[in-house]
């Protein structure tokens, strides 16, 4: 009940914001005044209607995980985000070993198998991609400078990095 109402409300706000953004779409002589806005406005309208329906006719609540699991998932998201920005300056092997190891530990909390999974996956996939599939340009090993590392990390901090 409550989750659907909150979800509906969030979607409704998003839909209204989307409609507002759609009215501000820039147009010019080639596109005509109205056509670039028409379809986004229609989508926003239908989405708003659906959100209202969900708010007023909610389904039963799903089984949400407990707080600890939410924490674990937040860590997983953080790990994936850091992995996403680190793969450029650090290359494939080191970030993959760490990220895969942490994820593995989170799915099944045993330290030794998790380390083995991380290292094994990292090296195994490296060999697969580089030698079997010839994607050496994507999976490479790089030695970063401190400045590059900071640049990459700053992407994740709002208003600081990310160009």
């Amino acid at each position: 009940m409550a989750s659907d109402r909150i979800f509906g409300l969030v979607c409704l706000i998003t839909a209204v914001a989307y409609i507002a953004a759609a009215t501000q779409i820039q147009t010019n002589l080639f596109s005509g005044e109205f056509l670039p806005k028409l379809f986004p406005l229609m989508i926003g309208g239908v989405a708003a209607l659906c959100s209202l329906t969900i708010m007023f006719r909610p389904d039963p609540d799903p089984n949400w995980p407990v707080a600890r699991t939410w924490g674990a998932m937040a860590i997983a998201v953080l790990v994936l985000c850091v992995y996403a920005v680190m793969i450029t300056p650090l290359g494939f092997i080191l970030p993959t070993a760490i990220a895969a190891g942490i994820l593995s530990y989170q799915i099944s909390p045993n330290v030794k198998p998790a380390i083995a999974a991380g290292v094994g996956l990292s090296l195994g996939l490296f060999v697969l991609f580089k030698f079997a599939l010839g994607l050496g340009n994507i999976v490479a090993y790089k030695v970063p400078t401190a400045a590059k590392l900071w640049d990459a990390f700053a992407i994740l901090i709002p208003f600081v990095g990310g160009h």
Partner: protein, 501 residues
Amino acid sequence: MDILANLALGFSVALSPFTLFLAVCGCFLGTIIGALPGLGPSNGVAILIPITFTLGLDATSALVLMTSVYYGAMYGGRISSILLNIPGDEPALMTTLDGYPMAKQGRAGDALVLSGVASFVGALLATVGLMFLAPTLARVAFYFGPAEYFALYLLAFCTLGGMASNNQAKAALAACMGLGIAMIGVDSSSGLPRLTGGNLHLFDGIDFLVAIVGLFAIAEVFFFIESHGKGSSIGVKLDKVRIPWKDIMSTKWTMLRASFVGFIAGILPGAGASLGSFLAYMSEKSIAGEKGGFGTGVAKGVAAPEAGNNSAAGGALVPMLTLGVPGSGTTAVLLALLMTLNITPGPTLFTERADVVWGLIASLLIANVVLLLMNVPMVKIFVKILSVPAWVLLPGVTMISFVGIYSLSGSYFDLLLMVGFGVLGYILRKLDVPTVPVILGILLGGNMEDALRRAMTLSDGDPTYLFSSPIAIGLWVAAIAGFVAPMFLRNILKKPQAVTD
């Protein structure tokens, strides 16, 4: 004898040693992808697409590889359904109903072989149906103008939302999300950015593959963290595998009927393989009646959904190839593959790129035979692969997804976006919001808007133009009926729940 000549052309394209090798690889990979719980056909194919490009395969080879993976995944889904009572992919849910009880009776080998044969029959008949029906439909498609195309896209979203989900509002909202995301980027007619919030990374729009890999593969990681990978060990032991001739013979009519039902369901845009296996199982159940013993592990209950599922997979290719409107999530991914290969599906495809179409059909036939040969004697190998623990499998899939998406543009932005889609996918699936409409929306949003704009330009902004032809009206009626009717049918046609131990 047009078809035979065309087929000969197709085989001449598809039957080189290299493409055969690709077909075998694709079938093997596909079966594994389908069998592993948590790695369905659509994200399996999606992860492989960028990697295929970086390998530098030409259009035909890439198509052969991907369609083999597609058919293979449809075959593979049944393995975990029967042995673990976990559907390897969504359409395989129906197979658990009779497959798992049959396996518990100690007939796991029989169930696997029988369902393999049923898959073969379904897929073969559907491919034959595709050969006959698609060229005809392609001729009809020449009468389609922008108004008809707009209605057709609408029909796809309506049937998808109506039949394949539990809550119409949520399915429609999911479609809107996808369509809304598709609008982001530079507008083709004005050349000005739309809804990008000034972010340069968004000027190109959001790549469909980023969304699909995020929504399916990354979201799965969160589900496994939540459940700590429980339920991923082998549930039923598999001993000797023999060919159960008696069961195969006794289910031949079931297979034929189920293939027919599945094929029809597959053709409906947006409905796809899940509906095919569902309808095939339900119709066989009602034909057999109370005495049929459906749900207790009977041969017919294993054969029907598998034949229906695989036949729908073939049927779903018909609207995808002739109209450019995919019939399921996985065909949506194949459509994305075609578009990236610079092949635009649609009525002209059959005349202009006959080599591609018939090469594709020939490779489907080849893949099917390869799969049957592979799945009956080698089923034990696939069962071994199923016992890969979740704590190796899921991190592995995640890392392959990252490499795949990274190879698209080499930008961290796509990777972060993919993680974002993963979180979104987790929340949506928890709230019982279907994610396939989001994918379809992102993929078709541009075309749907183009159709609308062209219609509006042609008619000088008159909305009644959208309902101006009989075909368009028919499609609108079908769309509305497809969306509304399930609300009333839901009480009558209840989805059978999975058997619990």
